[in-house]
Symmetry: C2
Subunit: 335 residues, 2 copies
């Protein structure tokens, strides 16, 4: 059969990405595998870092990036009972998601939540798992908490704001641009620009901070934690600006991402977590545990916000849209 | 009136401590103060570090150490309504607890819990606040968690084991000596010696670790955390051995207490907290919040375990008992 995918062949700017068509042996599925006719592939910021050669967990080139898809089951292995041909599903995959046809073990596949469209489904795995783990597994956010969500308009941040509000927390959401504040407020949070936040020292005493930018913002935000508060760091987005590869900027951000002496934490009475939501997809126990939590999507009335869907042929444009921080919510490519 | 107290005049071994009797002006109480005829003063490991000159938060010499007392109210300020002369109470105090008469603001005073004796009461403030904050404010331990309590026979550890069990966690308690294992098991935990623990790599995948020793054990124990797990460090006891002052050992322990690059936390998906339970006593908002939690003492059926009560005149012996790690639970001095 013919399969289309989007490999990373050489590191560099977005226009190096394009769709490749290849014939794939219609090999037997493993007994526990599911084959999905992919409709949408989610784009993550990590994909941009990968494309720039800045993501050290990535496989050697050439490889196909992508962690999440939605689509329709079009074949199942002999032992798969939970899914049938024609089922609408979502799947997480450790690389390989930028493809029109994905084969994955059944345990990485989830039925599409009832309240979610197929496009919204492709916005779920990485963002939901990251937001869920950061808020409820690491931070264990609860009613009455004061919560700060740094990238409140991004894919994870959008869900995180809604989930923290659902848990009964008081939420401040940050954004780089004033014109995105209304979007954050519509999710039930107080919105501030980063500049407003750093200028206003009364925005402090947080029980939980979700940091996505890394660098020196980590330390600046830690100083806004209350007694027994925690910061969860989920990335170092600050290393990419305007989609240009900049090893210097990556190094600079990494160097400014703080090194925390445990002894110093004693007197501040606080904690710091690092989270890589993508590695969760490597752990079968956690994939299963978190899959069970997908029921919360309906329960919490979460709407993963899909900002824009690009045809697969326009993948370069999709990357540019994300890396220039225009996105409010998820960016997808459609097959 | 005559007051007895135990000041730290010179740093050094335990035998430098002794009771001093002095006349105190019977000054007016502040309108919000409570005066307590102290029956028991709690001894903490921090007091030993202070005596050795190793506790940098301590005031300049001479000063009276001690963070917690129990006793009977014998005078109240004009605006105190909650307490009357004759009430049995517990109080936390930021230094000054090794005394026969303590004057403190009413908000640092708590009624003695119904199920607790006066002696047990003096074992509560620091240990309960530390265990409570570490487990339920920082760690937010919950049902089904895998929990490791390092110093399970100490004052904090004894409470922490009971509280974690009450919360529905599966608990392993560590001790340095095999003959204390039965004591830990009686609290409902699985007991291991430190040697057994480090030799058994299957004792892993913890959601929460309470570390009291600092030094390189922090890193060794961190490697036993599961995905999204956290370690809470509450001290660097490892710096004191046999009550001898050893600046070298303090430095050595401090140097081996890890410095955690936040970037490294990403890939391990874990968190680290530092907690200094004593500084909580400086924060009126938290003192009030935690005082409200003292109802849990009765609710959880917690018994702070008082190991031994020494007469005030034997304070040197009491310190030696604690610093040579003979204690199973709290050590008090009685007035």
């Amino acid at each position: 059969m013919q399969v289309q995918d989007i490999p990373i062949l050489r590191y560099g700017e977005a226009n190096r990405l394009s769709v490749r068509t290849r014939d794939e042996d219609n090999a037997e599925l493993g007994p526990n595998d599911v084959r999905i006719a992919v409709k949408y592939s989610g784009i993550n910021f990590a994909d941009v870092q990968m494309r720039l050669g800045q993501y050290y967990d990535a496989p050697p080139r050439p490889f196909v990036p992508g962690y999440e898809v939605s689509g329709v089951v079009d074949a199942v292995g002999s032992e798969v009972e939970r899914y049938s041909i024609g089922d609408e599903v979502v799947a997480g995959t450790y690389f390989g998601g930028y493809t029109s046809t994905l084969v994955v073990p059944a345990q990485q596949v989830f039925p599409l939540p009832a309240s979610t469209s197929l496009a919204e489904g492709a916005a779920l795995p990485v963002n939901f798992f990251t937001a869920y783990c950061a808020l409820f597994e690491m931070g264990r956010v609860r009613e009455g908490d004061r919560v700060l969500i740094e990238c409140a308009t991004g894919g994870v941040g959008t869900l995180a704001v809604q989930m923290a509000r659902y848990a009964g927390a008081e939420v401040i959401g940050l954004t780089t641009s004033p014109d995105k504040k209304a979007y954050i407020e519509a999710l039930g949070a107080r919105a501030m620009t980063l500049d407003e936040f750093y200028a206003d020292e009364s925005a402090a005493n947080f029980d939980f901070i979700l940091n996505a930018s890394g660098g020196r913002d980590v330390k600046k935000q830690m100083n806004r934690l209350g007694l027994c508060g925690r910061i969860v760091c989920i990335g170092i987005n600050a290393s990419v600006r305007d989609g240009k590869k900049s090893t210097l900027r990556l190094l600079w951000t990494a160097l400014r991402t703080p090194i925390i002496p445990v002894l110093a934490l004693f007197n501040k009475n606080r904690g710091v977590f690092g989270f890589n939501g993508l590695t969760v997809l490597q752990d079968p126990v956690w994939v299963e545990r978190l899959t069970g939590k997908l029921a919360l999507i309906d329960e919490m009335g979460l709407r993963p916000h899909v900002d824009k869907i690009f045809p697969a042929a326009d993948v370069a444009e999709a990357h540019r849209f994300l890396e220039t921080k225009q996105a409010r919510g998820k960016v997808l490519i459609g097959w």
